[in-house]
Amino acid sequence: MATLSLRGVRKSYLAGTETIKGIDLDVADREFVVFVGPSGCGKSTLLRMIAGLEDITAGDLLIDGTRVNDVDPASRGLAMVFQSYALYPHMTVADNMGFALKLAGRPKAERDAKVAEAARILQLEPVLTQRPRSLSGGQRQRVAIGRAIVRQPRVFLFDEPLSNLDAALRGQMRVELLRLHEELAATMIYVTHDQVEAMTMADKIVVLHAGRVEQVGSPMELYNHPANLFVAGFIGSPRMNLLPGTVGAAAPGGTVPVTLAGGVTVSVRPAQVLAPGSSVTLGIRPEALRQAADGPFSGAALLVERLGGMTLVHVTLESGETLVAQADGNDPIRAHDVIRLAVDPSVCHLFAANGLVLSQAEPPQAKPGDLHDLDAMPSLARA
């Protein structure tokens, strides 16, 4: 049982400049929470404040309901895995993992048993007597995780633990971490700037930007209902296409036409009344764009990225903007082909000038066949 709460947590390293600007957050027991955000947004700072390595300038940090602002790091019952692993180079793998227990004065038999158990979980048994420098990156990473496991902490903290690994190993370690989360039934907080890691691993994603929480939610909530332009642009790979436009006069039936820079008009159904003439941003996920002979967007394919299962087409519109559309893996399209694209307005996102969302996209219905049924796409008009 371990819950964690942040109440108005702030941090300034230098008087006058705030790095963390007031964060409220609740982490439930056994939850896998991912802090994600661009470089320098304060993810590590926040994690280090939770760990106790940085002082909390203002606000409260509660673990299991108890305020721990002034509790020293070791007594908070947390374990942290550092980006650089921070293994003790002169100790063997077993000694690295057993160090905390040794400091705590536990008997050797107990230490050995716990280290052996962690080594079993992490498949580190063959390297227990080696020193860190003779290990591979993935093994070092596992030793760092093993050092955390052995302490049986209430909460695991990870600071970009996979960023030093190559892509294949990263994918593998991602799976192993999830398995570990399952096996240990532990609360975990995981920092990354990689939104793919965030999407694939999190129960709950916390998107941070410039020291503030932009949005908190499950991966699919964030994907389908980004609360603002920042989250919309950050979550999802390839990125959402963001096109500036102007609101027109509301049509009967509650739809509102949005005229984009190139003259294309897309009718959307916003959740609130929009003043005609106000400027907005239309967000379209690459998978919401389909090739269609009568599509409103037309342009030349600038670049065709074949990823195997799908193809990403970068299209330069006549208006000069670039759209990324997702096509089938076997789509015959080639660079410089002129294509037309249609969009499903019901999965479009509309953001006001201040960046906040205006109309929320419906999560796509999981009806097979529906996705490729371009004729079924409703009212698209060319101005």
Binding site: L53, A74, F82, Q83, S84, L87, P89
Partner: protein, 308 residues
């Protein structure tokens, strides 16, 4: 890290193609020969000359007395109580200065790594004694610091109502040790400070999370990290401390009695006070053997440290 990366593939290479390696070495020989030759001559000529003089009857005051002496000079040396005293003094001096400089240097290095106001100035001040030449620092200590009448120590002693101590008469060897330690502490500090600063700070943070107190962080993380730098400091200092001379010459002239005569001073006294070149050379040979014994153990222990 980088050394390991470099040695592993090389080890593979020698294992797989020793013949090619040997051929490559032979081709390189003419290229390195001049350098090796110069070094060899540089080392061998004085060594052979010293060895030669050490078995000669060779006293500048008595040119009539000459010829081959055999081991007479050595016999005379080992039966001379001054020699054994100087050997002990040399070892005590080296050992004590090493303890003070390495111990003090490590503590200071850790302290200077902490943030505090005026750190830059404090660092410069702490390192500056290293740039004072030994003769000058010995004079400063003799006349300004430890002199019972003009010295600061004497002034302080009087200040608290004690009668001043004539340090060089009462604690001669300890006083010399103090001077030499003062000179070499900055060197140890300099080397160890860079080593302290090269420690990955997240290791200390990991240790803090693991529950290590400040002392335990020092004991289990900092000290092992510093061990390599400490060995380097010990090795370099030992080489120089075996030959401490100016400080003794300026302050005590090896006295009172033979209380501060180390091997280097003994050799000097033999050669240039008693003009016994043969005896001095025998002492020199002993110094060479001693230095080599020390160097052998040091290099071995450091070699082992280097590939942790």
């Amino acid at each position: 890290m980088s050394t390991v990366g470099a040695t592993v593939p090389m080890a593979d290479m020698t294992a797989s193609q020793p013949a090619a390696e040997r051929r490559a070495r032979r081709r390189m020989l003419p290229l390195v020969a001049p350098a090796v030759g110069v070094l060899l001559v540089w080392m061998i000529v004085p060594l052979v000359l010293t060895l030669w003089f050490s078995v000669q009857r060779y006293n500048l005051l008595n040119p009539a007395l000459h010829g081959f002496a055999g081991i007479e000079n050595y016999q005379y040396l080992v039966t001379d109580p001054d020699f054994w005293a100087s050997l002990v003094n040399t070892l005590v001096l080296v050992g004590a200065v090493l303890v003070v400089t390495v111990g003090g240097g490590t503590l200071l290095a850790v302290l200077f790594d902490q943030p505090f106001a005026g750190k830059g100035i404090a660092r410069v001040l702490a390192i500056s004694p290293f740039f004072v030449m030994p003769t000058v620092s010995a004079l400063v200590w003799k006349n300004l610091m430890l002199h019972p009448i003009y010295g600061i120590a004497g002034f302080l002693w009087r200040l608290v109502g004690l009668s001043p101590v004539d340090w060089f008469a009462t604690f001669p060897l300890a006083s010399v040790i103090a001077i030499v330690s003062w000179e070499w502490l900055p060197f140890a500090l300099l080397i160890l400070l860079t080593a302290v600063q090269s420690l990955d700070h997240s290791q200390i943070e990991a240790a803090r999370l693991d529950g290590a107190s400040f002392v335990q962080q020092f004991r289990y993380i900092m000290l092992p990290h510093l061990s390599r730098a400490i060995s380097v400091v010990i090795m370099i200092e030992t080489i120089f401390l075996l030959t401490v001379f100016a400080e003794i010459f300026v302050t005590t002239s090896g006295g009172p009695g033979n209380a501060t005569t180390n091997l280097a001073f003994l050799i000097y006294a033999r050669a240039l006070l008693q003009f016994d070149v043969g005896g001095a050379s025998a002492g020199g040979m002993v110094a060479i053997v001693l230095a080599n014994i020390v160097a052998f153990f040091l290099v071995r222990s450091i070699g082992r440290r280097m590939d942790i």
